[in-house]
Amino acid sequence: MKQVSVRLDNLEKSFASNRVIVQVLKKVDFEIHPGEFFVLLGPSGCGKSTLLNLIAGLEKPTSGRLQFGDRIVADGHQGIFLGPFERDVSMVFQSYALYPHMTIEENIAFPLTNLPTPLNTHEIKQRVLETAKTLQIEPLLDRKPAELSGGQRQRVAIGRAIIRNPAVFLMDEPLSNLDAKLRIEMRAQLKDLQNRLGITTIYVTHDQLEAMTLGHRIGVLNEGFIQQIGTPREVFHRPTNEFVGRFLGSPSMNIFKGTLRETGGKIFFESNGVLMQLPPIILSHLKEQKSAEFSIGIRPEDFQICVAEEASLTINPRVVEMIGSEYLVHALLQSGWMTARTSEEPTNPLHLKMIPEKMHFFEEHGQRMNLLS
């Protein structure tokens, strides 16, 4: 079993159209550890698929270097560029990209027919059978892709990818085309497979729940820049900036932008006309921020229902959604909608307090302020 690291050194990618040059990736610089399940997470258009294509060898970087273990697979300065097969990567596509005219057996066998030292028919058949057994798709070998369900096609795509025992396994939103129930099932199977095979895996998704459940580490991407890299716990509990804070978690983190204001001898946080009472320990750390604008982020689940005297914030719920044993309470403030998650049925008005340890602070440009670290 091969386990290689993947090192990206100041990788950049631009595309030139007739009228303009678009820089899709900007100074991407990080390392993926051997055997790691690394998730690239970001919204549509952030450059994550382009980054995956660069790692796969389907696109050439504009500048920067890419290394698998000790091997340089792409370097603009030195004029090195290895193709996908030479890099020993395999890939599962969002559309699965199964060859429609070939049987499942032929699809899975196809990578083995392109080896520099060809295998004989018997060996190929053996390897196909072993792979099909691993993925429980032996009964499907004689069929064509059009005769399979979405989940079956996905397993065939995975089979075609793992049959070569690649050094790096790439997945481009492979669960996007599946229905919700199947997605959860396949997520668990994918995680189990990666644990068993131990191949360095890079997984691209826009679904933050997939990222949190699958990845050993997550790289959050936005507008071509890496925003943060860390374990799911790190990116969720200590987002490096407002974007990461809002992108992870469902429903999204509430962000209140405002300044400190003194009224009647007391200091409040004022956000778009709404006055919030902050915990004393927080206020003591915010002394330097007296006149500067900053943001407070708090996740819906990190509010606590309290009495009026203890409340940081009092809201008038506009929409209440019951989601099993909890409630999602939506209120429309002057700054926009906010959401709280409560275990009790909300009253109107609803008094909420913010737990200091669960509050996030971001300075004017969106970067994290570590007040209680």
Partner: protein
């Protein structure tokens, strides 16, 4: 209700008119080919006869079988070679990035709009110098140039509908571009490949002007030219034989078109391949 009846009648009448207009000449051709004498309208005597067909197929002076062989070999040869060039060209234009990939198909399309008559004189001059007049090769070359735009655009429109992911998967799986084209793309685009071949074949089979100007006798003349130049014993036009030969020449094309109409219509409408 009345309005619907009138509408239906109008549609029926319109369709009948169109059919008569389109099929009328063909019907007349069949009637004359089966007539004992071509001037049956003047003599007002029609008797059914197969003699015209017998004459066409057996008379050595009419050279019908030579014309059939020339047409088939030139049309097959040209269609095969055209698609041999057009397929990789369509693949490159739809998949690869190179300077001129947008301009080239547009220029090819523009050049294809030149009227044949404007270049046939030059072609004759060039081919005489190359000793290619009155040869099958001498017809295949201009046919290739003439039908390449059609073949290129049909193949291009099919290939553009095949998802790029298939190519990427092929590259990841270690296949070369040629292997991707031959083992993955062409089998997936087979309806388009087939319809491009068929349409170029039909175009070459029916072509008249180049064949007329670039061939002299039955060694290279194709069916359309051969039939048009049919001569009777005394130099008159043998209408009965001519119509029989025309009927025989059009039957294979009609049969091919009817059997493969799905592909031809698909090819003309720009492909319906779903990857």
């Amino acid at each position: 209700m009345r309005e619907e009846h009138v509408k239906r009648l109008l549609v029926l009448a319109g369709s009948l008119l169109l059919l008569i207009f389109a099929l009328g000449p063909f019907g007349w051709m069949l009637i004359v080919s089966f007539a004992d004498r071509p001037d049956f309208l003047a003599t007002r005597e029609f008797s059914f006869s197969l003699q015209n067909y017998v004459d066409v197929l057996t008379s050595p002076s009419l050279h019908f079988t030579d014309y059939v062989w020339n047409s088939l070999s030139v049309s097959f040869g040209a269609s095969f070679l055209v698609n041999l060039f057009a397929l990789p060209a369509a693949y490159a234009i739809s998949r690869l990035r190179f300077p001129g990939r947008i301009l080239i198909p547009i220029v090819i399309l523009a050049v294809s709009m030149f009227p044949q008559i404007s270049i046939v004189g030059y072609l004759f001059d060039l081919f005489s110098r190359l000793n290619l007049v009155n040869s099958k090769i001498g017809l295949i070359f201009p046919y290739i140039a003439w039908t390449i735009p059609l073949a290129l655009w049909i193949n291009l429109s099919y290939m553009q509908q095949i998802p790029n992911d298939l190519d990427k998967a092929g590259l990841i799986d270690g296949a070369s571009r040629w292997k991707i084209l031959s083992k993955i793309i062409i089998p997936t685009a087979l309806p388009g490949v087939f319809s491009a071949f068929l349409l170029t074949f039909i175009a070459c089979f029916n072509e008249f002007l180049f064949a007329l100007m670039l061939s002299i006798d039955y060694t290279a003349q194709t069916l359309p030219v051969g039939i048009a130049l049919f001569e009777g014993l005394h130099g008159e036009i043998p209408w009965g034989n001519l119509m029989a030969a025309s009927a025989l020449a059009s039957v294979p094309l009609i049969v091919l078109t009817l059997i493969f109409q799905k592909y031809i219509v698909g090819g003309l409408m720009g492909g319906a391949v779903k990857g």
